[in-house]
Symmetry: none
């Protein structure tokens, strides 16, 4: 299954719908395809300037390591020197905080990732999950 | 006037509506605010991988130099060594092709820029203009 | 409200006036607009060479994260791996020390930031606040 | 002779005074010391975003090569491949256009440089010279 622009937009809109209902801080939300290339991005009014960069680094990091960034951040706590070295490798971007989640189809294949920044990592992750949940049926159908 | 996410989405949707009607190649479309920070981005299915980077460089270049990229590209033809040197300056991105257009409010203030890549520079520019035209009333009202 | 050159100069002069009265070490002081682009900069005689870069990173960091750098530095103490990773993201600059303060107009909108380096972070921050205080009336009038 | 902040401010103010009298486009003006480190910078309202970067590259280039950028740009026309290669060297910044001028004391020693961007290279250079002329007596006295 390929992550189309139509699907990416539904994911982002699902995220922002959840964020508005739950009074989340202004967010930047990016969806990448399986190759870690941006498909769609939206930054809410008054989100601060690094939010795009951090959201992108969360989504890239999830794809780059093959785990949601919550899991990567937990590993990093136990092995900080390894992760400090990884982040200095050219081409590698990682933001060691929850809010970067893999997007998988019904067969378990990774088709992309969503990255979110703007609130706490905990809240960013809830928003990321809400976006993926909004297209759960379409992901399963595949 | 501030370039909100709501306005950026209308501009991108105006661009993509024009593109679909006119059988344009798959596009990447990015809208930046006045400080050259991304507000929204969409990449159509099958647009190739560098399209995001090129669209971004067009929009940044327009804001960086204060002209649409068509005008910058024309200046560059008469002064290639200067523009070759400028593109190597840290922090400077320029894509010397039409398709990066300034977005101005009714008072003539620059509030952002749109950058497009995917078809020829000429067609990219028509799509950029179509996106801006789609919000002409809102821009004038300010 | 837009952060004009005239306003930026008053902020910097307010900072340097405070610094001279209080025997502060030689400072670098930069004022950025809301998009994190430099409006004005002054480096006092005998300020060391990295002071410009550090002052810039403080001001950019405040705008990038949406907090004064004192607050960012405090968050970083509790979450060092996240902030270590963030500083390696392309385009992100952070100096985790007080002295990078947001400049807000009377409506609470962020219109820019001031970054200072040269003395201790505590003193740098007092100088930053003195600069903003020097234009308090103009900021409120908006 | 050392290029002090007081002297740099007089140079920039001389430049901006000339620019206002002669209806020059909005400028970015930077003054560097002999080590190519920024002493002072001002960006006029509505100067476009790359003007800081280009002004800096002009001033750095003048100091880096030991000539005003007018002379460097002329050399580059006759030897474009060499200058194209030079601009790709890490740490090297050059903007091959007039407007980056060396500042010399009365003994002919280089004490810094001024870089200007915002209008044509020809006009930028006139503004740079006006700034240096504004402190001619102080430079000679040394």
């Amino acid at each position: 299954m390929t992550l189309t622009l139509a699907l990416a937009e539904k994911i982002i809109d699902g995220t922002l719908s959840y964020a508005r209902t739950n009074n989340v801080n202004p967010l930047a939300v990016v969806v990448l395809d399986a190759g870690a290339h941006p498909v769609a991005f939206k930054r809410q009014d008054k989100a601060s300037l690094y939010r795009f960069d951090i959201a992108l680094a969360k989504a890239k990091g999830a794809l780059g390591m093959g785990f949601n960034t919550r899991g990567i951040a937990e590993k990093a706590k136990n092995n900080p020197t390894f992760f400090a070295s990884v982040t200095t490798i050219s081409g590698v971007e990682l933001a060691l905080s929850p809010g970067g989640n893999l997007i998988k189809d019904g067969l378990g294949n990774i088709i992309g990732a969503i990255g979110i920044s703007g609130d706490s990592g905990e809240v960013d992750e809830l928003c990321a999950q809400a976006g993926i949940d909004a297209v759960a049926t379409e992901l399963e159908d595949n």
